[in-house]
Symmetry: C2
Subunit: 299 residues, 2 copies
């Protein structure tokens, strides 16, 4: 199959590496010439191309770009893609993208995809051939895609042994706001604190243990990817953010006023919610070493 | 050396496993009879004992109990420990403990120790023989310990190849409030959110990726260990918590008012602070598999 990958950063380059390995022919498109050449050099692409040409020759177009760029590019891609071809995105928000696609006469050719994989690093040099291997993948509003398009997309996802979960785009955005966008927001707030910049002559990593490392690692993530996610999922994010800030305020009062019983009850609730999350019974995916990155957490 | 370990949970049992391996004779003491028997069964102890006897026969006493329990027990331990013996604690706060020790005539026998190792799980069944291996260890106010006591403690820490960092107890508590106690507080706030309990019929882990997992894992930690830490380090914690909440509020306003330039600047600051944390140049410790726990992050 001829796959055109638009955007050759972390996601696009990882996708290219995996799909080339399973025998597909890959054309890469990127406004960022450095990324494009790096992805080519890393063996993620068979060739590079111009947007219009690369769309017209594709059996499948994968949009691996920030969600605001998906909104800009998707109509043009659907306008120009061959009749037999499918188009998928890889964005972290789904409602605005699905709403836009719904207005297009070629809606059926589009499949809304959100792979639950990624790292805090960005760019093609952080890509990994096994980034998507065995990961879950959320597919939104599949009833609006043709079975041809859906099967084409599921086919390549299955080559990477991904586990598909079908859901409504509205539910997706609401639920991801809680489990992904809020934690990202929290990490940016922590990592951007002035005190981390001054306050001591020491290297904080000398003092911070695994707790700091796991709380702060998302602070490394790229603004170009996340700002449009926060915008597109603003209402849901703000709602959960209010809820989280309320929780912090309650806990702060409990500490200030020595309300030990209340704090103990709240921590037991946190423990219980964690247990419900059931990480124990989810077989963990292996940790995959990454270029230049000491610890990489895949979903 | 005869080492008496008071508290045979995660830390005490891990210490026992490591020290027995390097040839020491270990007596375990715990009010929790189940923990004590589990630690014995796991091979972390040579025998169990009563507090008074176990103190009197020790060359080294290690207090592996919550920081409020350290405050209760330390004077009694120093009262009864043989003249040649040393006493160390393993608590996550240091100022109150050092202040208390300073008032004791046997102050010189005490060494204030905080190993930068641990996991979110608790109890002897979560212990691991290599939990402290190659970890950093903060030693506070070493000038108030005798060189005999200090060398005895450094000796066993070096057997576990731990890297000692000496610091002032006041600085310790202030800095750990930012890099450890605040992240713990944040994780409890996130994990205890009502929405994680209802809001969807799905298992959240199906939707949440590595971001949720690393943001929430500290929510599993034991209230008995952390509540006394929050209390003893209340002033520092509240100060950094205010700062963090202010940051969240600023970011919330930026999202609400579409202040993209400001948000972008803040995220770049988060990225830059993360880089300064310099995780890349810190050789990561290997991930150690743990009983019943899918992913274990050591410091």
């Amino acid at each position: 199959m001829h796959v055109t990958i638009i955007g050759t950063g972390l996601m696009g380059c990882s996708l290219g590496l995996a799909l080339k390995k399973s025998g597909h022919y890959i054309t890469g498109v990127d406004q960022n010439e450095t990324h494009l050449q790096e992805a080519l050099k890393r063996g993620a692409l068979d060739k590079t191309g111009r947007l219009e040409d690369a769309i017209r020759e594709a059996d499948l177009v994968a949009l691996c770009i920030p969600v605001n760029a998906i909104i800009s590019v998707l109509p043009k891609v659907l306008d120009n893609v061959p009749l037999h071809a499918a188009v998928m995105d890889m964005g972290s928000t789904k409602l605005d993208i699905c709403n836009l696609a719904d207005k297009h006469p070629r809606r059926e050719s589009f499949v809304a995809v959100h792979p639950m994989a990624g790292v805090e690093h960005s760019g093609p040099m952080a890509a990994h051939i096994d980034m998507f291997l065995h990961a879950r993948v959320l597919i939104c509003n599949p009833q609006n895609s043709s079975s041809d398009a859906l099967n084409k997309v599921l086919g390549i996802l299955q080559e990477m042994k991904m586990k598909a979960i079908f859901m409504d785009a509205h539910d997706h955005d609401r639920q991801l706001a809680l489990v992904s966008h809020l934690p990202q927001f929290m990490a940016y707030a922590l990592s951007s604190m002035e005190e981390l910049d001054r306050d001591t002559h020491r290297n904080w990593t000398e003092l911070g243990g695994g707790g700091l490392q796991s709380s702060i690692r998302l602070g490394k993530s790229d603004a170009n990817m996340w700002m449009p996610v926060f915008h597109q999922n603003k209402e849901n994010l703000l709602q959960f953010l209010n809820s989280y800030m309320h929780q912090l305020l309650e806990m702060k009062r409990m500490i200030e006023n020595n309300q030990d019983d209340d704090l103990n009850k709240l921590i037991k609730k946190a423990n219980a919610n964690y247990e419900k999350l059931n990480y124990r019974n989810n077989k963990p995916r292996p940790m995959v070493p990454n270029q230049g990155a000491p610890k990489v957490f895949y979903s």
